[in-house]
């Protein structure tokens, strides 16, 4: 019924003109009153175009004739003068209507272009935000659904065929909120898309792609190289957006295809980076294995062969020293194997984590006890000075937490100058407990604070042999993170020396 509004409006305009003329009647000549009606016709034309103008011209002529020309209150038609009046009215309506119509059409075209631009701009901005093909497909479907105020389905190539990746539907109303994502379309849509896909495949070499069907329209998604998918628009019964064969949709499709291509390339790039990364890791692993296994093993072999071949020339004390060396080197190899095992298990995600309320102090003292165990005595140079005095429950796996703390303590003792202390403290807030292990070693340059948790990273030291495996802290972090905690390093602690390792875990309370 909206179409009737302009006609009602023009009728009202003519009625107003009639009222004004009635009021002016007697003041000016009746013939001049036609000007008032002419103005009303003009206004109707300008605002509502030619058709409305013609209707109002006829209305104006009838009103003028009946009310203001003799004989009054009766329609009479004098061939000459009345024909002239009618012709003038109609001529004004036609001419003005034509001009106004053209202006209006231009304005509408401009508005449509603006709205197309808005749609395209919005789409290109949205599509640029994602690097995930599935997400881009869903976004493209949404944009097309919004533009057509219909339903859109996006299919993306998988090997030889295509697979549905995203759909969206508009409820017909304009605006952002009217579009919602849809679940997988019906089998008719999928069958149609698959059919069209085979046609795209066979339509190589410039055979025109015929995308239309009584209910669906299809557009290929493709860049210069090859089609990478298909867009299916379903005609909507309500609302009216862009015509389905409008140029906007192919442009949207192209934007979507470019975005998907970009996502694909980025994915490939990440893969390549990961490969390069694992290649680097493999190299590090190889050089570490050859160094960390061979160094202690050659030490052991040297000491053992010395004892075997020249043992009778050694004093009892020398022999004991050599045996002590063998023990230390074997201990070092063992530590390395244990670390490698832990590392591999962490990398493979094969660590079973059993979280339970665990007394942090209890675990700290168990780890400290292991550090002081006789077997490790040959390697530790520092000593453990203090244990925190607040009891505190954390959510942790006691075995893994003990290993994590042990690794940090062990590392701290290895890098501590002889006799200096390693201190452990515990700081608890409402939700978090922080275990801090501080050594008096040389510290870590601030740019390397994160890198100490990298695999095989060793702080350069002027000590002739670095005893660490370069894995301890990395494992600690892996273990603590597997328990939902965090590990970080700060340095220096005081007097330009010392490193603090902070292990943060979630606190729990007695129930």
């Amino acid at each position: 019924m909206l179409a009737a509004v302009p006609y009602l409006w023009s009728t009202a305009a003519i009625a107003t003109a009639t009222a004004v003329s009635w009021a002016l009647r007697g003041l000016i000549a009746d013939e001049s009153l036609s000007m008032v009606f002419l103005s009303a016709v003009l206004v109707s034309c300008v605002i509502h175009g030619r058709n409305v103008g013609i209707v109002s011209a006829i209305l104006a002529f009838v009103s003028y004739n009946v009310l203001f020309l003799e004989p009054r209150f009766r329609f009479s038609f004098e061939p000459v003068s009345d024909t002239l009046t009618l012709v003038v009215f109609l001529a004004v309506a036609l001419l003005t209507g034509g001009l106004a119509g053209r202006v209006r059409d231009q304005a509408m075209a401009t508005a449509a272009r603006a709205s197309t631009m808005t749609v395209l701009f919005h789409a290109s901005r949205v599509l640029a935000t994602s690097a995930d093909r599935k997400e881009i497909a869903a976004m493209l479907a949404e944009e097309v659904a919004r533009a057509t105020r219909g339903t859109a389905h996006v299919f993306v190539r998988t090997g030889e065929g295509i697979a549905w990746t995203g759909s969206a539907a508009s409820d017909g109303a304009p605006g952002e909120t009217s579009v919602r994502a849809e679940s997988e379309p019906g089998s008719d849509v999928i069958a149609f898309a698959e059919h069209m896909w085979t046609r795209i495949g066979s339509a190589e070499g410039g055979v025109p792609f015929a995308p239309f069907h009584e209910r669906f329209a299809t557009y290929p998604l493709g860049t210069m190289r090859q089609p990478i998918g298909l867009l299916v628009c379903q005609r909507s019964s309500v609302g009216r957006g862009f015509a389905l064969d409008d140029e906007t949709i192919p442009i949207l499709c192209e934007l979507g295809a470019i975005a998907m291509e970009r996502a694909y390339l980025m994915q490939e790039m990440t893969k390549a980076q990961v490969l390069a990364e694992s290649d680097k890791l493999r190299t590090a692993l190889l050089s570490s294995i050859s160094h960390d296994f061979r160094t202690p093993l050659s030490g052991i072999l040297a000491s053992v062969t010395a004892l075997l071949e020249q043992g009778e020339h050694f004093s009892a004390q020398t022999a004991r020293e050599l045996l002590g060396d063998i023990r230390d080197q074997a201990e070092r190899t063992n530590r390395y194997v244990a670390n490698l095992l832990d590392m591999i298990k962490l990398e493979a995600g094969a660590i079973g984590v059993k979280l339970e309320p665990t007394d942090a102090i209890d675990i700290i003292s168990a780890a400290a006890r292991r550090c002081k165990a006789p077997a490790a005595r040959g390697l530790t140079r520092g000593w453990l000075r203090s244990i925190p005095d607040k009891s505190c429950l954390v959510e942790a796996d006691p075995v893994l937490l003990e290993q994590a703390i042990y690794n940090v303590l062990d590392n701290a003792m290895l890098y501590s100058p002889g006799g200096s202390a390693v201190e452990v403290s515990l700081h608890a807030s409402l939700h978090v407990a922080e275990i801090v292990i501080v050594d008096e070693g040389p510290g870590i340059p601030s740019e390397d604070l994160e890198r100490v948790f990298d695999k095989f990273y060793r702080v350069s030291t002027n000590r002739p042999t670095a005893q660490g495996t370069g894995l301890g802290l990395s494992i600690s972090r892996g273990l603590v993170e597997a328990m939902g905690g965090t590990v970080r390093a700060t340095s220096p602690v005081k007097d330009e020396r010392g490193t603090a390792i902070h292990i943060c875990l979630k606190r729990v309370y007695e129930t």
Binding site: E356, S365, A366, R369, A375, I387, E510
Partner: protein, 233 residues
């Protein structure tokens, strides 16, 4: 310590050889077996006083061997296991192993564990009335505990906990074993109760409860009463 027959079960000949040398040097008579079948065979034929068992046997699971042996013998069994196999260790202990030691181990540590196991085994046949170590003295009949010369008052549960641990002094007792001893059944019971009880007992018997020297935690496995330098009546 009188001469004992010790059975070493391991399929690693190098380890067996070293253990044989060390145990012989310590005055023991050494028997060996390389798999489960041989083990059971030796146990039936010989009078064995203690067994050192590697859990990774070629023919059968070491835990099954323990369970089978426990049907007819209470000889001390010390399990050799890798550090990271906590679950395996607990299962072996719950199946009846007396103690465990992580591989690789130092010989001194192994000999100490063996001494503890043999001593506890010998004593179990006699009735023990008292226990004394590291300034801790327990009179089982009078339920009296003296720490560093001062008598402390324990609740019945605390006393029971201390008694179980002291009866296995130097050996680990799993959380399941403690729970079932103290509350009848370990099934489904929250081990937090045990942790709290251990905390209370430490407050009363340790000179610094934060750095326990008597009642030690074996993370994830259980508890051990430190028995180094133990003297008994």
């Amino acid at each position: 310590m009188p001469q004992c027959n010790v059975l070493i079960v391991d399929d690693e000949t190098q380890i067996v050889k070293t253990l044989r040398l060390s145990l012989s040097a310590a005055g023991h008579n050494v028997l060996t077996a390389a798999n489960a079948a041989e083990t059971l065979d030796v146990l039936r034929r010989e009078s064995v006083d203690a067994m050192i068992l590697d859990l990774g046997l070629p023919d059968r699971d070491g835990k099954e061997v323990i369970a089978e042996v426990r049907q007819w013998s209470d000889l001390p069994i010390i399990v050799l296991s890798a550090r990271h196999l906590e679950g395996e260790k607990i299962a072996a202990l719950d199946a009846g192993a007396s103690d465990y030691i992580n591989k690789p181990f130092s010989m001194g540590e192994l000999l100490a564990r063996l001494r503890v196991a043999l001593r506890l085994h010998h004593r179990r046949s006699a009735t023990t009335l008292a226990y004394r170590t590291h300034g801790l003295a327990i009179d089982f009949a009078a339920r009296q505990v003296v720490v560093r010369g001062k008598e402390v008052h324990l609740t019945p549960k605390e006393f029971d906990l201390l008694r179980v641990l002291s009866q296995h002094a130097g050996q680990v007792v799993t959380r399941n074993q403690l729970l079932s001893f103290l509350w009848g059944t370990g099934e489904g019971r929250d081990s937090q109760v045990l942790r709290v009880l251990v905390g209370q007992l430490r407050q009363k018997i340790e000179s610094d409860p934060r750095v326990p020297t008597l009642l030690l935690t074996e993370p994830g496995v259980g508890y051990r009463l430190n028995a180094d330098g133990e003297e008994t009546d």
